[in-house]
Amino acid sequence: MRKGVLLVLAAALAACFAGSALAFEAIAPEDLKVGWVYIGPVGDGGWTYMHDQGRLAMEEAYPGVTSSIVESVPEGPDSVRVMETFIRNGAKLIFATSFGYMDFVQEVAKKHPDVMFLHCSGFKRAENVGTYFGRMYQARYLSGLVAGSMSKSNVIGFVAAHPIPEVIRGINAFTLGARKANPNVKVKVVWLFSWFDPGKEKEAAKALIDAGSDVIAMHADTGSAPQAAEEAGVYVVGYNNDMSKYAPTKHLTAPVWNWGAYYKHIVGQVTTGTWKADDIWWGLKDGFVDLAPFGADVPQEVRDLVAAERARIIDGSWDVFSGPVRNQKGEVVVPEGTVMTDGEMLSMNWFVEGVEGEIPQ
């Protein structure tokens, strides 16, 4: 019995060394198996749907690669089981697409040093664990420029899912953009306390329109708010993907994700043996986030303004949260001449000047 245990241990150790020796050498696309752990169903039409679009874009670029997914994986021990199954089936690259997988990714990664892990929106890394996220706030800022320019009532309504830093950062960036284009504009926020509930999103948009908003923006996962805007005849800025389908005449633009750019990049590195664990937070420059095509009503001078702001974000001479940035009380939070660090942005829990609404504590 003891001999058996020793043998197994020796075998495991040998496997570990063999594994680490082989680690991160180039894997031919035909031999590469990739697993995606999704937090929601692909059919959510939002977050997970856009990740899956990215995966499909990767498949198109690398036809030999085998990719597989598991949907609606809870952020708990279940995710370990899912990742272990991927590995048993030969996966050498795993993407975990939600924050809550962070510690479970670390756990599995320790056991399998020859497998590469990439964790979306987290901050814990290791030899074989990289992290990634997109600077959506840059695209949000640009969409704010459009919304601010188009508002006549100087009230913009924002349908927001949950009061977490990611959403707050988006609202702040959007507001900074809107007020850059139109300093008198105010952004009213309504919280849904839900990621996707089309009925509620529509009611929230209607409530904001009744409260005087003539442009609606959103951080929720369905096209319901754009529908309400189209029906009421007010402009709308979508999210996640081009939502003009839901508001054919009133859709101004939408900040959109392009996960495919990143997934292609990583698979490219893995197939050429150049991958190493890294923290990637890409923005407009790398095509990770962008704006959906403008609606017909967006005038040329607004398009020019967006192009100019985009140019200075891309060339790195300016970023959205460059000082001076004031909070709701008018106090300077980011002094002139400084820029918020990534860490400060990731934990943002206050509203900038011009936002009307509260962050439930």
């Binding site: 169903p41 309504v190 089309p198 509620k200 319901s224 529908q227 389908k245 439930p360």
Partner: protein, 309 residues
């Protein structure tokens, strides 16, 4: 007034899908069958209504097929619970899981599509009445249909012979069987009808309200319907008020936020559930003192003709 009318109109709009499901569940439970599969049936109804409307461009056809599919789905429940006499709670929960999974699987290709759907249809004349007009009669056809249904079911349950039979089956199946009523037939029909209405409530969300299909788009409305049956103490009129109250609180908290007041929204969202607990407490205190049209005595109990206990 400026604020009140939109809130009340939104209350009716948001309450209607829950109302359909609640009315269906009242009929089912009055026959003594508890169906906890409402959430799943609503989802299947939402998908069916959307899918059929998407392919046929006829919202009415979509709603009708949704009703049929909902009834067909609940035939599983009726077969297992009425014919075989299995545990109704377990069977209902299984139905919810099945409906959630099946609608997600089948609906994959419809995600991101949109339909013309059903639009508001103000009733000429009636919608001009101050306050009541814009609240009740500036809605869509399914809302008007639900008004009729509430009164129809109230009349059916309390003032007709078939309604009496249905209640008898739910109160004392042995006595009903002795009086020559076929308990399984009544329970089967009540379960199918309840399932059809639940599916119609789901289809309201996708066809009338949002014109799109999203997985799990009912977001727990099926469970609220189950709670509303108790809230309304198995009475169609009281349950209608309950449905509009639940819908109204949801609409109110959004508007309170939009108006920029400092009332915490989660506090408002909690209110209807607090009320449900209060009603439940009231029921148990008054138990045995004869609340009119209260909980069916044989709710959840399987019936076998041969059992004489």
């Amino acid at each position: 007034m400026d604020l009140l009318v939109p809130i009340l109109a939104a209350a009716v709009r948001s309450g209607t899908p829950i109302l359909y499901a609640t009315l269906g569940e009242i009929i089912t439970e009055k026959s003594g069958v508890m169906n906890l599969g409402i959430e799943g049936v609503m989802l299947v109804g939402a998908l069916t209504g959307f899918g059929v409307t998407y392919h046929s461009a006829s919202p009415w056809l979509g709603l009708a097929v949704a009703f049929g599919v909902g009834a067909a789905l609940c035939a599983i429940h009726a077969f297992l619970c009425v014919t075989l006499g299995v545990n109704q709670v377990v069977c209902g929960l299984a139905l919810t899981m099945f409906g959630t999974g099946a609608s997600s699987l089948v609906g994959r290709s419809l995600v991101g599509e949109t339909i013309e759907g059903m639009r508001a249809f103000p009733l000429p004349g009636l919608s001009e009445i101050p306050l009541l007009g814009p609240v009740l009669f500036n809605q869509d056809a399914m809302v008007y249909l639900s008004f009729g249904l509430v009164f129809l079911l109230w009349f059916f349950l309390l003032h007709t012979r078939p309604g009496l039979k249905l209640r008898a089956v739910g109160e004392s199946p042995i006595a009903a069987a002795a009086a020559g009523i076929s308990v399984p037939t009544v329970r089967w029909m009540a379960t199918l009808f309840g399932g059809g209405l639940a599916a119609l409530g789901g289809a309201y969300l996708s066809v009338v309200n949002s014109h799109m299909w999203v997985e799990q788009m009912t977001s727990g409305r099926g469970w609220i319907a189950v709670a509303l049956v108790i809230f309304g103490i198995w009475h169609p009129l009281r349950s209608a008020l309950g449905a509009y109250l639940f819908g109204g609180v949801g609409a109110l908290q959004l508007r309170v936020q939009a108006a920029g007041t400092s009332i915490p929204a989660p506090l408002l969202l909690m209110l209807p559930y607090v009320l449900t607990v209060v009603v439940l407490t009231g029921i148990s205190i008054r138990k045995g003192k004869g609340i009119l049209l209260g909980a069916p005595a044989a709710l959840g109990l399987p019936f076998h003709r041969e059992d004489r206990d």
